[in-house]
């Protein structure tokens, strides 16, 4: 799983990217949602500055853009973590205890759904259905689908990421030392 590279960029950098992307686009209103999707792809979320930029592009008010963007579940307005955790809340997952899985992530990470941990490592959200109902309950981390989840598996996954991170950091300090 490749953690999104642009997760940790600052807003100025993101702004420049969005501005660049807008240059070649038509001002046809039907293009608004595809452009919001482009912004989300570039920035991993919809920054406020991008909303203003889009409003200028289409010559509509920022609250109109915001209204459309918030209507749809796809768009998020706070920066996601390096590892985006999505817990499926589809019918099959619910019947098999999806809410318990969400609760376990939430307890383990100390954040509620829709939030990001302070170190920007993890963000947690619920999704309606990822369409792998036969594997319920399901959690998606980054691009990887984890089926047949259980509370003990939640701990294992988070521990796995922490070990990975520790190892990477240790590798870095060792590199520094050898330099």
């Amino acid at each position: 799983m490749a953690p999104s590279e642009n997760v940790l960029l600052d807003e100025d950098e993101l702004f420049a990217r969005v501005e660049d992307a807008l240059k070649h686009e038509t001002r046809d209103r039907a293009n608004l949602i595809p452009l919001l999707q482009t912004v989300q792809r570039l920035c991993s979320y919809i920054p406020e500055s991008a909303v203003r930029l889009l409003a200028g592009h289409f010559d509509i008010s920022p609250c109109e853009v915001y209204g459309v963007a918030t209507f749809y579940n796809q768009f998020r307005f706070n920066p996601p973590g390096r590892h985006q955790i999505k817990v499926c809340m589809g019918t099959a997952c619910h019947v098999r205890g999806g809410d318990i899985i969400l609760e376990n992530f939430s307890r383990k990470l100390g954040i509620d759904e829709g939030e990001t941990t302070e170190d920007r490592e993890f963000s947690l959200e619920r999704v309606a259905c990822v369409g792998c109902c036969a594997l319920a309950p399901v959690a998606v981390i980054g691009e990887t689908v984890h089926g047949k989840m259980a509370p003990s598996k939640v701990e294992g996954l988070i521990l796995g990421f922490q070990i990975e991170k520790d190892r990477a950091e240790r590798g870095k300090t060792q590199d520094d030392r050898t330099k």
Partner: protein, 645 residues
């Protein structure tokens, strides 16, 4: 549009393409090398099909074996994923289907079968072709009770190679349609009795006729793949596994109604479906099957993909159109129906993926053939995603009219773990929960509606005795409350109120008059809402109230959840007579460290810490089986916790 000598030219052009496809296929069949097919749709990938695929590839390279690796979409047998089919003609065995092939197992099978000639029968599900001396998969009811029309080519053709679909006979329906007149096509669809597979069941032929008759030069076709129902994923599977069948259906529809533009509205949450369809569109255009001047006829159809951003209400056709136009997806009053005033104010046909995928087979084989399948009132087949507590979950395509009992118990293998059947939920958030007495209801649009449920998009969730119906109703209401677009007051506020009452009941604070209030609110929401979301939102509550009223009463009057699901009303405790002294199996499993050791080295649960996740019940070794679940929580015995220094 068609000139006198046109039909001849269309056929000729198509046959040339077909010959090319068949030559490629014949060249492959001619060689003796084994063919390994891996099912790689989203659900297959989720179960690890990518690792399986790579492992097969590496093993074959390591052992220097000549094999041809193929990927197909989904076969619908989710319980068996990852599925691998090995066709090794020189071994003398028929093509064999393997199930649950992890990467390690794949390595073992490739080594053993392809190198040493032993197919490892213990991992084989069956042969995919009929053979005298080998049990075939078609001997299983999960296979032979199905009738595949919509999913005919799913898991059979490679979705990324248009020639495979053409070699299978694909696009011949389009070529055939272009030889006839639009009116004839509409007549065929009308007399086939095809009804919209999106849920409401409107007659497709009538919809097409309306759009064809509507005045206007610009007309549109929209393929609705905004599959929002939690628990339904057949549209995604069809698009990922057989995109060309849908594209062919769109092209035929466009020709019939006189449209030159089509939009495929696919959820952005389905990235694989989007990329598969985009590639398929490109290939179809390269082969002159869509785009300008299709097969030299002067008929043009431009198809583009619009990525839907995820709003349940956008499954409603007027909301979907608003969304394509860059607005918030709120429905508007109908009429005018989209067939007369739709996208950009032009006549628009909106059909579901499965409806459009049914079109090519109907055109090829005729209306009579289609009418002969399934129930009289709604002929044809229906695709269901059967999930929840069943032995063989997955996608099932059956002729309409077979009973729910047959679908759940014969086709899908019944309830696992020797549990009892309790209820079946059909049609997602707009459908209803049916109890055991409705198991003999035939599955078709009209019978289900009479029972209070609906076909919807075809999601079926089977629930065993461990499911709480109040909780299920609450779950669906939470979903519709979140997804209500907010336009109609009754839907926006009514669903919130319904949810609040249900929440209260599930935590044991329900009042006796709540049940009446629920019923009243349900009626008001249905009456006061514009679109199907609001009109059907109360269905889960109404049906569960009707068929499982005793459960509501147990929650309200006794503070007890009969299925021990509602967490505030349940407690876990450890049966000290069964708990083994010195065993620590449950301690590590507890995420909140609620399990303590008693004075005589057995275990107890600290009720103030317990979050009721049930992990200890899973962890407890089956020979002790000491973890108990009770409702109301006051039934749990109090085990003294030793005071630690």
């Amino acid at each position: 549009m068609t000139e006198q000598n046109e039909p001849f030219r269309i056929r000729e052009k198509y046959e040339r393409l077909r010959r090319k496809a068949e030559e490629v296929k014949a060249a492959e069949a001619g060689s003796d090398e084994p063919v390994i097919t891996v099912a790689m749709a989203t659900c297959g990938i989720a179960s690890g099909a990518i690792d399986t695929f790579n492992s097969i590839k590496e093993t074959a390279q390591e052992l220097d074996l000549q094999v041809r690796l193929r990927t197909v979409g989904c076969t619908g047998h989710c319980y068996a994923e990852p599925v691998v089919v090995i066709d090794h003609p020189s071994s003398g065995f028929p093509p064999l289907m393997y199930h649950g092939v992890s990467s390690g197992k794949a390595r073992m099978i490739v080594k053993s079968f392809l190198r040493d000639g032993d197919p490892l029968f213990e991992h084989v599900l069956g042969a995919t072709t009929e053979s005298e001396d080998f049990p075939g998969v078609m001997d299983f009811p999960r296979f032979n009770r199905e009738k595949r029309v919509i999913m005919e080519t799913c898991g059979v053709v490679d979705p990324d190679h248009i020639l495979e679909y053409i070699a299978y006979g694909g696009y011949s329906a389009l070529a055939g349609s272009l030889e006839t007149t639009p009116a004839q096509i509409i007549e065929t669809i009308r007399s086939s009795g095809l009804r919209g597979r999106g849920g409401a069941g409107f007659e497709t032929g009538r919809k097409w006729a309306l759009a064809a008759e509507a005045p206007g030069d610009r007309k549109y076709v929209i393929c609705n793949a905004d599959e929002g129902d939690p628990g339904a994923y057949m549209d995604r599977t069809v698009l990922e596994s057989s995109p060309h069948q849908v594209i062919e259906g769109i092209a035929i529809c466009a020709y019939a109604v006189g449209a030159a533009e089509a939009v495929m509205y696919i959820r952005a949450e389905y990235p694989l479906a989007v990329s598969t369809v985009e590639r398929a569109l490109e290939q179809a255009e390269q082969n002159n099957l869509i785009g300008k001047n299709v097969l030299g006829t002067g008929f043009s159809i431009h198809i583009r993909v619009f990525k839907g951003s995820g709003a349940f209400v956008c499954g409603e056709e007027t909301a979907l159109i608003a969304s394509i136009q860059g607005e918030r997806g709120t429905p508007r009053y109908r009429p005018p129906y989209p067939a007369t005033r739709g996208l950009n104010g032009a006549p628009t046909v909106i059909n579901n993926v499965k409806t459009l995928a049914s079109v090519p087979p109907i055109i090829s084989r005729g209306a009579e053939w289609y009418r002969s399948i399934g129930a009289a009132g709604s002929p044809g087949t229906a695709v269901f995603s059967v999930v929840g507590d069943v032995v063989h979950p997955g996608l099932v395509e059956i002729p309409t009219g077979i009973s729910l009992r047959s679908l759940i118990f014969d086709v899908c293998g019944g309830i696992p773990r020797k549990k009892k059947f309790k209820a079946v939920q059909i049609g997602g958030p707009s459908g209803g929960c049916l109890s055991e007495e409705f198991l003999d209801v035939p599955v078709d649009f009209d019978s289900l509606r009479e029972a209070g449920a609906m076909m919807g998009s075809g999601g079926i969730v089977v629930m065993d005795e461990d499911s709480c119906m109040v909780d299920v109703a609450r779950y669906f209401l939470e979903f519709t409350r979140n997804e209500s677009c907010g336009k109609c007051t009754f839907c926006r506020i009514g669903t919130a109120q319904l949810l609040e009452i249900l929440n209260r009941i599930t935590i044991g604070e329900g009042k006796e008059e709540d049940l009446e209030m629920l019923e009243e609110l349900c009626e008001d929401i249905s009456a006061g809402s514009l679109c199907a979301l609001g009109k059907t939102a109360p269905n889960p509550v109404l049906t569960s109230l009707r068929y499982f009223r005793d459960e509501y009463e147990a929650h309200i009057l006794e503070g007890r959840c009969p299925a021990c699901v509602c967490r505030v009303l349940t407690a876990y405790y450890i049966d000290l007579d069964r708990c083994a002294r010195g065993c620590d199996a449950c301690v590590g499993s507890c995420p909140v460290e609620a399990i303590f050791t008693t004075a005589n080295r057995k275990k107890g649960v600290d009720q103030t810490l317990c979050v009721k996740c049930g992990e200890c019940a899973v962890a407890c070794p089956s020979e002790y089986d000491a973890v108990r679940r009770v409702s109301p929580p006051s039934l749990a015995p109090v085990v003294p916790k030793p005071v630690t220094e």
